[in-house]
């Protein structure tokens, strides 16, 4: 990287959105590059590789998903997709195709910077040594020791519950689709058995949340997947 401030590439055809994203990101200390078409985006990403990409799924000249696939053919830089509500299927498709996270328009600035922060952290963390101990609320998870405590007491989890929690912890702050979770915990043959997730997530919440019906950490992204809230 040439400078300290990470470079964010904004791929968005609407000028007002680009304007406000540039203002926000610059204010938060990022450098910003902009592209308004799919073709332009790929050229710019190739010429000056960014630290992360904010990609609108609806572009005038091509599907945002095809830009994502093109990028994924040569780089693992974090990609955060933008889409409208009601397009859950598009989001899932983008996430399964390698997008790191998504934002639903309209979104607040807080949400945006949190997503970028998480994405950049995971991008750098994957190259560094994995974090061994993770904590949220009064719960702490020692991945190396495979120990989970709550308020200092051991929490007894079944192996499947632990595996599920471990996957969420590894991607803390990021959304994980049903398919990603199911493949990772139960294996590819169970990629469609969403009921497994429902049952085990509920059990995890009952063991780890104060009020399982109003969870603070193990969050549901309806129609998309789950997210372990980052601290």
């Amino acid at each position: 990287m040439a400078t300290h401030e990470p470079l964010i590439l904004i791929v968005e055809d609407e000028l007002p959105i680009r304007k406000f994203l540039r203002a926000t990101l610059t204010a938060h200390g990022y450098r910003v590059d902009e592209a308004s078409t799919a073709k332009d985006a790929l050229i710019r990403a190739g010429m000056q590789p960014p630290a992360a990409v904010i990609l609108d799924l609806g572009l005038p000249d091509a599907d945002g998903l095809s830009v994502l696939r093109e990028l994924r053919s040569w780089t693992t830089i974090p990609v955060i997709v933008l889409s409208a509500r009601g397009q859950e299927a598009d989001k899932v498709a983008a996430l399964d195709a390698g997008a790191d996270d998504y934002l639903t328009k309209p979104f607040g600035v807080g949400e945006l910077t949190a997503r970028i922060r998480v994405a950049l952290r995971h991008a750098t963390a994957s190259s560094a040594a994995p974090q061994s101990v993770f904590a949220f609320g009064d719960v702490s998870i020692d991945l190396a020791a495979r120990v989970v405590t709550r308020g200092g007491d051991d929490v007894r989890l079944t192996p499947t519950e632990y595996n599920l929690l471990a996957v969420l912890v590894k991607h803390a702050g990021k959304v994980l689709t049903h398919k990603q979770l199911l493949t990772e915990v139960w294996g590819p043959p169970h990629a469609q058995d969403v009921q497994y997730l429902r049952v085990y997530m509920q059990q995890l919440r009952h063991k780890l949340e104060d009020d399982p019906a109003q969870p603070r950490w193990l969050l549901t992204e309806s129609g998309v997947g789950y997210r372990l809230k980052d601290i």
């Binding site: 299927a89 020791a145 495979r146 120990v147 079944t158 519950e161 049952v199 969050l219 549901t220």
Partner: protein, 906 residues
């Protein structure tokens, strides 16, 4: 001498000018008293005059009969080729109606209006051809002799002794726009006859001699003059009426004529017609069907049908009425007359009566006694000999009509059997016993076999009795006077009892038949009332018509001038192209036609128009086989057709009104949506634009708090706008059916949790109590939709309750459903709001601040899409509770937690 009112040429010019608006052609009749007066000559002369003036005149058909003076008039006129048809080896040439319509001249000359067409022609009579031409907008000149007018037919026969077979209905002459009398004094006519200048068709030489007598010709001339005068008179009256003259004949009179199968009815009808013309009254012809008419002979039935047709051709309103059981025909006539305000009734003079009949009062006597203020005209019947024979021997007629040989054999078998029994009882001899047994045989023969067989049974029985039982036995002689008396009494009693029994039998048969028809009609009417759409009606009508009449039937629906075979009736008759043509004619002219009628009688089907209250619905086509239907069957068929037509029309109206209602609903909703959306979109937009411009214009001069407030307002209003648009889009998609739930297994606890997470800010710190058991089953739903549903319910609670209250969420299972309830502590629902609150654009009167009224409607739509139910009610002591249910399906396979390997420290 010509009787004419306005100048005919002027009339013609008017006609041509008005042709565009009144498309019907005008008919001019050259009217004469006898053949040879020069009608054809006059017509051709008139035609030539017009042609010379440039009018497009074409000769349709003119018979010159080789008269050179007539032929010379044809020179220079365009003559339409005739249509040749083969009939019994001879070639007959007829007027080609289709060619005439295709040629469409201004004026067509058609000779001999009363002519009968060759079999297989389009119409039976030429006057029907002419009517078609007139309807096609062609002006027609035609010729007619006085003896061919229907209502004068019998008067002419009386005067001249020659009955003419070819007649033209009076209505045709009445419809004529002009009648020109072609007159020739009898002496001049006789002179022409002597010179061989008169062609007289279809009459024997003797008839011609008796016809062309000076006395006859004078009488005919007088008739023709009088008829023309009547016509002119009627025209004057019409004119007066049209011009609003005050002179109108008094209360419009109605003449009723009662007709039946008796041959005298034809005369009666014509008399009635003359009377009604003289009185300028409406004519109603009525046939009262008595129960005993069920045993009417074939020839009587045919005659009755002829009379009904004659009545129609005379322009009478023609009706058939069934006498109620046990009521006299005379009473039915009087009742009907009173009902219709009839002033004069014509009946036939009763036929010569037997001494027995003289003891009872005749129907006419009774009619006169009960008629009250109504005038009764008893008219002499006049019949020719062969017809009189059949009326004089009613017994014979009924013998033929009722019983076949099998019936007679059965009757004889019964007689034989009872005599065998009587023979067994003949030891010791007791004539009274045997006579009783034999009588029983006659009675049973009458009851089982009918009138004729009972008569034969009586005769044979008495003969056999005489042969078998009276002394000396096995001879036809009798010794003692008492035996003779016994046998005679037995004969008379046998005849009377047999006849009475047979009458009862006939009446019960007639009653059954009537019952069957009424029942059939009732059954169809009832089913038609229950049928909801065209297809059902067609199926019901088709089935009932087939069951009742045992004919193949098809119902054709009129689709804007065209006829279409209806699809609703799978067993419908398939029509040939020719039959479709007949049906089309029926539709165009809204008249019954085809087999069994006078129009297109040689076609394969009988067609009846289906007329609803406001127009043509279609055509009913029946394959009636070879026999003409009886008048009763025709009337019943017409009633069926009318019922079917009304039902079809009703179905059409219902469909139309339903469509109109849906359109109006959609229109109303669209308007409500537009007004709601424009208001709800503009409010946040105005706030955003106002706040933003304030910040731009006076940014530096504002205090920090004010700036903060304006910025918050922009963000809040933008969020509100976003929610509104999301709801609108969702509602639109739900409405258009574009949203098919993407179902997957979900945990309701999880959905409630994520919904609460998303509305947390909107709840403004209200406490949320959740009561969700651990062991709830999963539901297969669209997660995003159910989340949206819960969000809408929470937002609704937040919107309608004070900030410091709490919101409760509970879920439980009941009756195979998962129930979720969202409770608030607000003011609750107004009475009656429980259901309407789920309608679009309804906002509760609960201090609503915002919201388009779409939120709960969307909830309703989402729940419906999931085969669930949503409802609202008030809580005790305050607040509202919204509940919805989702069906619980068979739970999916989930690996059970392996408890023994609980993970703690490994």
């Amino acid at each position: 001498m010509t009787a004419r009112r306005p100048d005919p040429d002027a009339l013609l010019q008017q006609a041509q000018a008005a042709e565009a608006q009144s498309r019907r052609g005008r008919l001019k009749i050259f009217f004469g008293a006898a053949p040879g007066v020069g009608k054809t000559f006059a017509m051709l002369t008139a035609g030539r005059t017009l042609a010379a003036r440039g009018v497009d005149v074409v000769v349709g058909i003119v018979e010159t009969h080789g008269r050179s003076e007539t032929e010379s008039l044809l020179l220079g006129l365009e003559i339409l080729p005739r249509r040749a048809s083969e009939y019994r080896g001879a070639t007959l040439n007829e007027l080609d109606v289709d060619a005439a319509i295709a040629r469409k001249p201004d004026v067509l000359l058609v000779d001999e209006l009363a002519h009968t067409n060759a079999p297989g022609s389009r119409h039976e009579k030429r006057w029907q051809d002419v009517r078609t031409l007139l309807e096609a907008g062609i002006n027609v000149y035609s010729t007619l002799n006085v003896q061919h007018i229907e209502s004068l037919n019998d008067v002419v026969a009386q005067v001249s002794g020659v009955r003419v077979q070819e007649t033209v209905p009076d209505s045709v002459i009445e419809e004529a726009d002009e009648v020109e009398l072609v007159d020739l004094p009898p002496d001049a006519l006789l002179e022409r006859l002597r010179q061989g200048k008169v062609y007289v068709p279809e009459m024997a030489q003797r008839a011609i001699q008796s016809f062309f007598k000076k006395g006859n010709l004078s009488a005919l001339r007088e008739l023709a003059l009088r008829r023309t005068a009547e016509w002119v008179d009627a025209q004057v009256d019409v004119l007066k009426r049209e011009q609003g003259a005050t002179h109108v004949w008094g209360a419009s009179e109605r003449v009723l004529v009662a007709i039946g199968p008796a041959p005298t009815s034809a005369t009666l009808l014509r008399s009635a017609k003359r009377l009604s013309v003289a009185l300028r009254a409406d004519l109603i012809a009525i046939y009262i069907e008595a129960p005993s008419d069920a045993r009417m002979s074939v020839s009587d039935r045919q005659r009755l049908l002829d009379h009904l047709r004659l009545a129609e051709s005379l322009g009478a309103e023609t009706l058939t009425i069934k006498a109620a059981p046990g009521r006299r025909v005379g009473d039915e006539i009087i009742d009907f007359a009173r009902q219709r305000n009839v002033s004069k009734i014509l009946v036939g003079k009763p036929s010569p009566r037997t001494p027995l009949e003289r003891l009872r009062s005749s129907p006419v006597d009774r009619l006169i006694r009960t008629s009250g203020e109504i005038d009764i005209f008893v008219v002499r019947g006049e019949g020719d000999d062969n017809v009189a024979n059949s009326t004089r021997l009613p017994l014979l007629a009924s013998l033929q009509s009722q019983a076949g040989p099998a019936q007679y054999l059965r009757a004889l078998a019964v007689v034989a059997a009872f005599h065998a029994v009587a023979y067994l009882f003949h030891h010791p001899p007791d004539l009274a016993t045997e006579a009783m047994i034999a009588l029983l045989g006659i009675v049973l023969a009458a009851a089982w076999c009918g009138r004729g067989p009972s008569l034969i049974a009586a005769v044979v029985s008495v003969a056999a009795f005489n042969y078998l039982f009276t002394e000396p036995r096995f001879t036809f002689r009798m010794h003692s006077l008492s035996d003779t008396v016994t046998v005679s009494v037995m004969f008379v009693v046998g005849l009377l009892v047999g006849s009475l029994t047979a009458t009862i039998r006939e009446q019960s048969i007639a009653a059954r038949e009537r019952e069957r028809r009424t029942g059939a009609l009732y059954a169809m009417t009832r089913e038609l009332a229950a049928a909801r759409n065209h297809d059902e009606i067609l199926e019901v009508a088709g089935r009932h018509l087939r069951d009742t009449f045992r004919w193949g039937v098809a119902i054709l629906l009129a689709e804007g001038g065209r006829l279409e075979a209806a699809s609703g009736d799978p067993a419908a008759l398939t029509l040939t192209e020719a039959s479709m043509g007949v049906a089309k004619w029926c539709l165009d002219h809204t008249k019954a036609c085809g087999r069994g009628t006078t129009i297109l009688p040689s076609s394969g089907v009988l067609c009846l128009p289906l007329l609803g209250g406001s127009g043509k619905v279609g055509v009913l086509a029946c394959d009636i086989g070879t026999d003409d239907p009886s008048p009763t069957a025709m009337r019943l068929l017409e009633t069926f057709a009318q019922q079917a037509a009304l039902a079809l029309e009703r179905a059409g109206l219902i469909e139309e009104s339903e469509e109109a209602r849906i359109r109006a609903d959609a229109e109303r909703l669209r308007n409500a949506l537009l007004s709601s959306v424009s208001h709800d979109l503009r409010t946040p937009l105005a706030a955003i634009a106002g706040s933003a411009s304030t910040l731009r214009e006076a940014g530096a001069g504002l205090g920090d708090d004010t700036r903060r407030e304006l910025l918050d307002s922009i963000v809040d209003e933008a969020e509100r706008l976003n929610r509104l648009i999301a709801n609108l889009l969702f509602a639109t998609r739900l409405e258009s059916g574009a949203v098919e739930p993407v179902r997957e297994w979900c945990s309701i606890e999880e959905l409630i949790g994520s919904a609460l997470h998303r509305v947390r800010n909107r709840l403004d710190g209200r406490r949320v109590d959740t009561r969700i058991p651990d062991d709830l089953p999963l539901v297969r739903v669209d997660a995003a939709m159910i989340e949206q549903l819960l969000i809408n319910l929470f937002e609704n609670a937040a919107r309608h309750t004070p900030p410091a209250t709490s919101v409760g969420v509970a879920a439980w299972r009941a009756d195979g459903h998962l129930i979720v309830g969202v409770e608030d502590e607000g003011p609750g629902l107004a009475p009656g709001e429980e259901r309407t609150i789920f309608n679009r654009f309804v906002r509760g009167d609960r201090g609503s601040l915002s919201g388009s009224g779409l939120g709960l409607a969307i909830c309703d739509g989402i729940v419906r899409a999931h085969a669930g139910r949503i409802w609202a009610e008030n809580r005790h002591p305050r607040g509202a509770i919204f509940r919805f249910s989702l069906p619980i399906e068979t739970q999916p396979d989930v690996p059970q937690p392996d408890e023994e390997s609980l993970h703690g420290n490994p």
